[in-house]
């Protein structure tokens, strides 16, 4: 291989830093100029790479709407990227039987362990449960729930007894309301978060009793990787959004149909992006709190947490926007040449 051929090969490698559109339009003449300039220094090579990367981020000149579009696409893909990171960082809730196996020891000899799984838009999936002793245990108190959970390996992070005295209020129709002593219980084990209310056994003179027990929910808590993955996903999505806009802004300017579909995709994406932003605010407000566990990606689930929004709207818009965006990418894949240039003969 001759020196010149080796140099051309090196320049072609360096030019890979530039977007394909730029290389196709200017790559050959750049190589000619670089050959005429002589062997580039290491600093020149790095400068060329930096210039190429900068070109990838550059939007077409003199088109303010493109800047607005780029900011919106960056925001939208940033939010979807953060949602993807949130999904990756959120292990699923274990099977119901597995969770109840961990919770049942809160009540010795439980009579019923009613449970059902709930998916809330915006929040982590939870398993709601109610535990009660099988037979009346007059000595049963909220302390038994705490002892049982600790014995089963749970770490109690909060146990707050309600100072109100227990009471039984009966109406003239002999309908009685049992207001038993209670305690708020928060506990953690192996990444699971239990939040619930324990109540004492309470009986009146006739033997009618509130049997007591523990009721609450179990969710998968945010692990150490949740926030880093969510933030990384958001940054990666935003970066992709800007780079895609910079790349496709040149292509769609000569394709009105692609430009129209880009606008449609952005409009359709607005509801899910807004739902994600609202959920990000909720997540931020509950980061250090206990109880509710917000997960960003759950904002895309049906039955939105946004007021007055039909259950199907958010997931349907997210899917439709993704489909239209893919269509725009397909519509814009052709190449273009520098207008007005004539080919060398």
């Amino acid at each position: 291989m001759s020196d010149e051929a080796r140099q051309v090969r090196r320049y072609r490698l360096l030019l890979l830093a530039y977007p394909g559109r730029f290389r196709r339009r200017r790559g050959t003449e750049m190589i000619t100029t670089m050959l005429e300039l002589g062997e580039p220094s290491r600093s020149d090579a790095w400068h060329l790479i930096a210039s190429g990367v900068r070109e990838r981020f550059r939007l077409p000149s003199g088109r303010p709407f493109t800047v607005v579009g780029a900011l919106l696409v960056t925001l939208a893909l940033g939010m979807f990227g953060a949602a993807a990171g949130s999904w990756l960082g959120s292990p699923g809730l274990p099977a119901r039987s597995e969770v109840m196996h961990l919770v049942n020891p809160a009540v010795s000899n439980p009579m019923a362990s009613f449970s059902h799984r709930t998916s809330w838009s915006g929040r982590a999936d939870s398993l709601n449960f109610t535990l009660a002793p099988k037979a009346q245990q007059p000595s049963w108190t909220v302390e038994d729930a705490r002892t049982g959970l600790i014995a089963a390996g749970w770490t109690i992070t909060e146990f707050t007894a309600d100072p109100r005295p227990a009471s039984i209020t009966c109406t003239t129709d002999d309908i009685c309301t049992f207001d038993s002593s209670s305690a708020t219980v928060l506990a953690e084990r192996d990444g699971l978060v239990l939040s619930g209310t324990a109540t004492d056994f309470l009986a009146d003179k006739t033997g009618t009793a509130w049997i007591g027990g523990l009721t609450g929910s179990v969710v998968v808590g945010r692990g150490a990787v949740y926030l880093p993955l969510t933030i990384a996903g958001g940054l990666l999505g935003a970066l992709t959004g800007w780079l895609l806009t910079a790349a496709f802004a040149y292509r769609i300017r000569s394709r009105p149909l692609a430009a129209v579909f880009t606008g449609v995709a952005m409009t359709v994406a607005a509801p899910p992006v807004w739902a994600l932003i609202v959920n990000a605010v909720m997540l931020g407000q509950h980061l250090s709190g206990t109880g509710l566990v917000y997960t960003l990606h759950a904002a895309l689930l049906p039955d939105s947490h946004l007021d007055g929004v039909p259950a199907w709207l958010i997931p349907a818009c997210a899917i439709a926007a993704a489909a239209i965006a893919i269509g725009v990418l397909v519509l814009s894949t052709d190449r273009e040449d520098l207008p007005g240039a004539t080919r060398p003969t």
């Binding site: 200017r26 003449e29 750049m30 000619t32 100029t33 020149d44 004539t342 060398p344």
Partner: protein, 107 residues
């Protein structure tokens, strides 16, 4: 407008030039002060073409290598003139301020 961009436009005012020719004329115009690297040159050429300030004049192949010549457009000449006027005004205003400097300077 940045100085390299101004000098590129100025370098194309007299006649169409190709990439290496632009590097040379810019070095001449700036008395060697501005040495255009390919990354700077072609980034500027891309922007200036998009803005309609320069355009491709013609292309030729020399020893199998593509050379593309650029020329200044009417809009480019107007932009260059406006930028020269602006710099001139600033330069004259700065010069006037320098003349007002007290003799001997400040302590």
């Amino acid at each position: 407008m940045q100085i390299p961009t101004l000098l590129i436009l100025a370098g194309l005012a007299e006649q169409p030039r190709h990439g290496y020719g632009i590097v040379q004329v810019v070095a001449d115009l700036s008395a060697g002060e501005v040495k255009l690297r390919p990354g700077t040159l072609y980034g500027a050429l891309e922007r200036l073409t998009e803005q309609g300030l320069i355009e491709v004049d013609h292309e030729e192949a020399v020893e199998g290598r593509l050379r593309r010549y650029y020329r200044l457009t009417t809009e480019g000449a107007a932009a260059l003139g406006a930028e020269i006027d602006r710099l001139q005004r600033h330069t004259e205003a700065a010069r006037k301020q320098l003349r007002l400097r007290p003799a001997g300077g400040t302590a």
